[in-house]
């Protein structure tokens, strides 16, 4: 089975090339790139005027299965992923039960693979039940296919346990993804602590809640030599700490979500619970720092922290609502609109942070269009625009504060393993 993508601008993050070329896919792999390729019997996709990039990788999503299927399932999550242009996602283990053993890692991997949509890479828990008390069976989970380890949703409060987790992960050659939050400092908080929380009368989560844990984990990474990835960086102080750590040679990478580089705590005015996220939306100063971190390379990865919830859970008083917003289906448009059109990143930089970098952090295939690589490709239409309409989401989650927002630069097609799974925001099985 062959597919020829003709006439697009090919973006290759590995060597930073952007050239008008054709891409030929054969038997689930990339057969080659070049001008005027021809292949007898190949299906042809006309990508002129569009960007042909390695399949987007979202290394931070919550797919809620097992246990919270009312919020999302592997199927709806995978459909949301490909509609958003993501051909690979890494799902966090805070399900019910928590993914803290090899059997659950295998269950997720196998169930998702059978769907034939986005590739799903389970992240295993650091501690049993993510309770922060004893190490989970990280070795077994690695063998079963876990891509990294994290207690995401919960910080690892015990520094001793975090240190042992990093020592062990280093032995396994795996990355530890840290949800940096000091619970004593964030206790009871529902939004960023600052003038806006004062106005709204909501208890705040100070920037220091994140920063003290970033600092701790950087020190532990330095000591253990473990590869550390800081999830959802939200404050100027965290950006500074990561920048300084990188300069000192610590093996650290960091991610930011589209909502943290797009929105400020002002979005909470009106108490829209879809703005309730953890870490919270910060100030304009923090947003500027995060953008600077993206531009100067301090922040390596853009990830969504896609966190679907049911309408009933979110349609309540702000303090009562769970944290989290969906992100898979708005991410590309927000990156393009805010960062590329906004002049923060070049298209190549943006693509690199959504493909090559997350693939490297997780040590999974992807992030390149080199010959022999898996034929995972996303085609982006920079000229396309849409107004976000949550009723069109493939995700079960409708919890987004971006409803009604006009976005530019949308994923136009997604190809996984050489198979077209999404065209023009429609999933392949619903195509004619």
């Amino acid at each position: 089975m062959k597919l020829l993508i003709r006439g697009g601008t090919v973006v290759e993050p590995v060597d930073g090339r952007m050239l008008e070329q054709d891409v030929l896919l054969s038997d689930g792999r990339i057969a080659g790139t070049g001008r005027n390729l021809s292949a007898a019997g190949a299906e042809v996709i006309d990508a002129s005027g569009k960007l042909v990039v390695p399949g987007l990788v979202d290394m931070h999503v919550h797919l809620r299965e097992p246990g919270y299927e009312a919020k999302e399932t592997l199927l709806t999550g995978a459909r949301a992923a490909v509609r958003g242009g993501f051909t690979s996602v890494a799902c966090m283990p805070n399900t019910n039960p928590v993914v803290d053993n090899a059997a659950l890692v295998s269950y997720i991997k196998n169930t998702a693979a059978a769907l034939g949509l986005a590739r799903v890479y389970p992240v295993g828990a650091i501690s049993r039940g993510s309770r922060g008390e004893e190490l989970a069976e990280m070795g077994h989970m690695k063998k079963a296919g876990a891509a990294a380890f994290s207690d995401d949703g919960q910080p690892v409060a015990d520094a001793g346990l975090m240190r042992r987790a990093m020592q062990y992960a280093r032995m396994l050659g795996m990355t530890v993804i840290s949800h940096c939050e000091n619970k004593e400092l964030s206790l009871g908080g529902t939004m960023h602590e600052g003038y806006v929380s004062t106005l709204l009368g909501l208890k705040g989560i100070p920037a220091s809640s994140e920063e003290v844990m970033v600092a701790r984990d950087l020190l532990l990474a330095e000591e253990t030599g473990c590869r550390l990835h800081i999830a959802h960086v939200s404050t100027a102080g965290s950006v500074r700490l990561v920048r300084e750590a990188k300069a000192r040679g610590i093996r650290v990478t960091a991610e930011v979500t589209p909502h943290h580089f797009t929105l400020t705590d002002e979005a909470v005015v009106g108490y829209d619970t879809s703005t309730k996220v953890n870490p919270p939306l910060r100030t304009a100063f923090d947003v500027a720092a995060v953008k600077e971190g993206l531009a100067d390379g301090t922040i390596d990865v853009i990830a969504t922290d896609h966190a679907p919830h049911t309408i009933e859970e979110k349609d309540v008083e702000y303090e009562r609502a769970p944290f989290g917003m969906v992100g898979l289906e708005t991410a590309m448009g927000l990156v393009w609109t805010e960062l590329v059109v906004g002049g923060v990143l070049t298209p190549l930089q943006a693509v690199t942070k959504m493909t090559l970098h997350p693939a490297r952090v997780l040590n999974i295939p992807g992030g390149t269009l080199g010959a022999g690589a898996p034929a995972d490709i996303t085609i982006i239409d920079p000229a396309a625009s849409e107004t976000v309409d949550p009723s069109l989401f493939e995700s079960k989650g409708r919890n987004t504060p971006f409803a009604g927002r006009a976005l530019k630069g949308l994923p136009w097609a997604a190809i996984v393993g050489g198979r077209l799974v999404m065209v023009e925001r429609r999933i392949a099985d619903s195509l004619e």
Partner: protein, 312 residues
Amino acid sequence: MAINGKDLISLKNIPAETIKLILDTAEPMKEIIKRQIKKVPTLRGRTVVTVFYEASTRTRTSFELAAKYLSADVVNIAAATSSVSKGESLKDTARTITSMGADVVVLRHPMAGASELLARTVDASVINAGDGAHEHPTQALLDLFTVREKKGRLEGLKVAIVGDILHSRVARSDIWGYTTMGAEVRLAGPATLMPPGIEKTGARVYNDLEEALEGADVVNILRIQLERQRQGLFPGLREYAVMFGINRDRLKLAAPDALVMHPGPMNRGVEISPEVADGLQSVINTQVTNGVAVRMALLYLLTGGAHIEAAY
């Protein structure tokens, strides 16, 4: 004349002329309270529902009397005895109430933003009777009314608000009300009970209580909740009383005719000494009376204000 908008959620962005209208309307309402027969037919046929998710005898009774003096039908719902305790959401409770034909819903809720959520859900007018640490606009309006009544004006006055500003919805509404009406607001209290960025509201933050009291025309003392001490937000009640309690000596720093105010209920001997609470400068009981008048004015104005002549 009615006030713009369906609801009263917050005093932020309420223009001075609207506040003045409410205070002016409260004056004839106060006259009604003083009559032997305290009832006018103004809101006959209208229904006011009070929904209290937090216990508050003072505010609930004040609204209830205000509605009754205007001849409205009043229903009180206490959350502990309603479907709320069976897990019904605020929105569903609200829909039920309005389906029954309420014209005004008065909501007291422990969570900030609850009245805004309710106002978005229902067609009835919603009055915020206190939502978490957000706002308590009717308390601020009765404070303004009391000060204007006693001082003849609000503009140019120095108002010191003392105590737990962080958790105080009264303080937030007071700040907007006073600053909109041209008064100067000074805030004093323990650093751990001072919300971040509060000075951006236009209020001034004083680390030194005595400096804040210097020449103040109004001293508004906030209730200290014992629970805050248990949360470790300040070291102890005894220390609080010594550092931030208002006693006779401290009060002497304020203007000689300064008014002493407190939204109640008071912790005598903690934030306020008994002789100050019961002293000549105290207008705490007047605040309670004025609360009814101001709430009558609001109910009247929010329901359209069509029959003012009947109120006179």
